[in-house]
């Protein structure tokens, strides 16, 4: 499976581009990695399958625990309280070290649901997205699950949208065959460095949105991206009226469509 990760600056138009691709690419899987508040499913209807997602979390059996506090001393995240050896679910990363180290076997990894993953299928297209329970630990793992499910579906192509420059981006970029970095003239240069340092050996492309708004800044961003090995795919022109439109409305715009068509051809 070829995986194309679409990443970049906030509000630079990533979602509009994904929606453009969604209406054009067949036999593909689309992955929405925004699991706190998923977004792409709002633009896609299809047959729905919902599946609970569990991670393994440590649970203490106080009947067996002798209170030696080894777990407390070894916990890399400081998630265990000294007074009552309570494991704080907000701090616990569920690494399993305490379970591994406990000589009494008083701790056990137990399945705990932290959210669900959802498959929407319509003809040859599939959208995979996840919903994390509010505030739950393990969003990175839920996103990994989406990717694993995508590979199991044996399609040719997966298009993955990531947000931010943190863990989710790092995880998906480490698997990408191609990376499309979406920037606009408001983008902080630092975004290019951050994304680039997560890219493994993948092919790297640059897509510049809102071209013509700030020519000097654009030049700077393109130069920097090219110096880091990103190839300029296309630049979507800036249009005053596009700025205020919803993602859906942008997709109906003629100029936008021309640009996405050319992007699909290059892919």
């Amino acid at each position: 499976m070829r995986s194309i990760v679409i990443t970049g600056a906030p509000q630079s138009g990533k979602t509009s581009i994904i929606l453009g691709l969604l209406s054009r690419l067949d036999n593909s899987i689309f992955i929405d990695t925004k699991v706190d508040v998923p977004l792409l499913y709002k633009f896609f209807t299809g047959q729905e399958t919902r599946n609970p997602f569990h991670i393994k979390a440590p649970v203490r059996n106080f009947m067996v625990c002798v209170g030696c506090q080894l777990c407390l001393k070894r916990c890399p995240f400081g998630a265990i309280y000294e007074e009552d050896l309570w494991i704080d679910p907000l701090e616990c990363e569920c690494c399993g070290l305490c379970v591994q180290q406990c000589a009494q076997k008083a701790l056990q990894m137990v399945n705990m649901q932290i959210g669900e993953w959802i498959k929407l299928e319509k003809e040859s297209k599939i959208l995979l997205y996840g919903k994390l329970m509010p505030g739950a630990t393990g969003e990175g793992l839920l996103v990994e699950e989406l990717y694993n499910q995508a590979t199991a579906l044996s399609k040719d192509l997966a298009i993955i949208e990531t947000h931010g420059v943190g863990e989710i981006a790092a995880r998906m970029l480490s698997k990408a065959s191609d990376v499309i970095l979406v920037l606009d003239p408001f983008t902080n240069e630092e975004v290019i460095d951050r994304i680039n340092n997560f890219c493994d050996t993948s092919k790297k492309y640059l897509l510049l949105n809102k071209k013509g708004m700030d020519i000097d800044k654009e030049k700077l961003l393109v130069q920097k991206a090219e110096a880091n090995g990103f190839k300029l795919l296309s630049a979507l022109p800036y249009q005053e009226d596009l700025k205020v439109l919803s993602e859906q409305a942008i997709c109906n715009n003629e100029m936008f469509n021309k640009a996405v068509n050319s992007l699909v051809q290059k892919l």
Binding site: K42, K56, C94, L97, Q101, G135, E139, E167, A170, N197
Partner: protein, 271 residues
């Protein structure tokens, strides 16, 4: 009084609002800004005198001359930080939490510790406004460690106004950074998922048992959703979107923001 600013989506002006909220009361008192969005700490750019001190951390390292490919490390790593490539374990350094579970499981002792740079932690000041911030090193994605170091270096001040800028998203990694807050503020703008976002935020606020505010960067959008917000036990306000800060922070918006801050401070009996 610890006020946390959260956002599910980026680019909504959370950093600008955090800075401005910090500035508003500096004529009367000291205010402290905490930048916990260590993957993209934009607050640093508002201070010219920020300098950081290097922070290191431990991660695991595969010793390939000893590795006999038992593959136990793949199974035991809960983070997927060791991937299989041609039956060879490849550690993903950006997401390894350095827990050390793989060290003990390896029958060949083929995994050892390696020290790497996690990022920088430091402070800066403009008059009465102090910034405590951390910045992850390039190629690093494990925020939790650096956030913890930031808090250890600069413990949150008691009986002061502290503005805490959370990492992006509404997951546990963001919430644990700002769990000391008395007030959570969600900064958002019109979107097809605005309702879901506010409901998720509402559940989080309820779980923490604290006060929750929603700032929407659009007056009309707030009107449409005000009832939902108050039904969830949340408070709301709209602070208009500022397209450009080239001419400074608009005076009228500053007045609105100060009224909002006063409302927060008085709601909780001052500080």
């Amino acid at each position: 009084m610890n006020i946390a600013l959260l956002a599910s989506r980026g680019g909504i002006g959370r950093t600008t609002l955090a800075f401005k909220l910090g500035q508003l009361k500096t004529k009367e008192t000291e205010v402290f800004l905490y930048e916990f969005d260590v993957a993209y700490p934009k607050l640093i750019s508002f201070f010219s005198n920020w300098s950081g001190q290097t922070i290191k951390r431990r991660v695991s390292k595969v010793l390939y001359d000893k590795c006999k490919f038992h593959q136990k490390c793949f199974d035991v790593c809960q983070f997927g930080a060791i991937k299989k490539e041609n039956d060879k374990p490849i550690r993903i350094i950006s997401i390894c939490r350095g827990c050390g579970v793989c060290l003990d499981i390896c029958p060949e002792h083929a995994i050892d510790w390696e020290e790497i740079v996690s990022g920088e932690v430091g402070e800066a000041q403009i008059d009465n406004l102090t910034l405590y911030a951390a910045r992850l090193a390039l190629g690093q994605a494990w925020e939790g460690f650096l956030i913890k170091k930031l808090k250890e270096s600069y413990p949150i001040k008691e009986n002061k106004i502290n503005i805490l800028k959370a990492p992006l998203g509404l997951g546990a990694s963001s919430l644990r950074a700002v769990k000391d807050a008395n007030v959570f503020i969600l900064v958002t703008n019109p979107s097809v998922t605005l309702e879901e976002e506010i409901k998720t935020f509402g559940e989080i606020v309820q779980g923490f048992g604290i006060t929750g505010f929603v700032i929407i960067r659009d007056k009309d959008a707030l009107k449409d959703i005000e009832t939902l917000i108050s039904n969830l036990g949340l408070y709301s306000t709209s602070i208009p979107w500022i397209p450009s800060l080239k001419n400074g922070f608009p005076q009228d918006i500053e007045v609105e923001l100060e009224a909002f801050l006063n409302r927060i401070l008085s709601n909780n009996g001052g500080f």
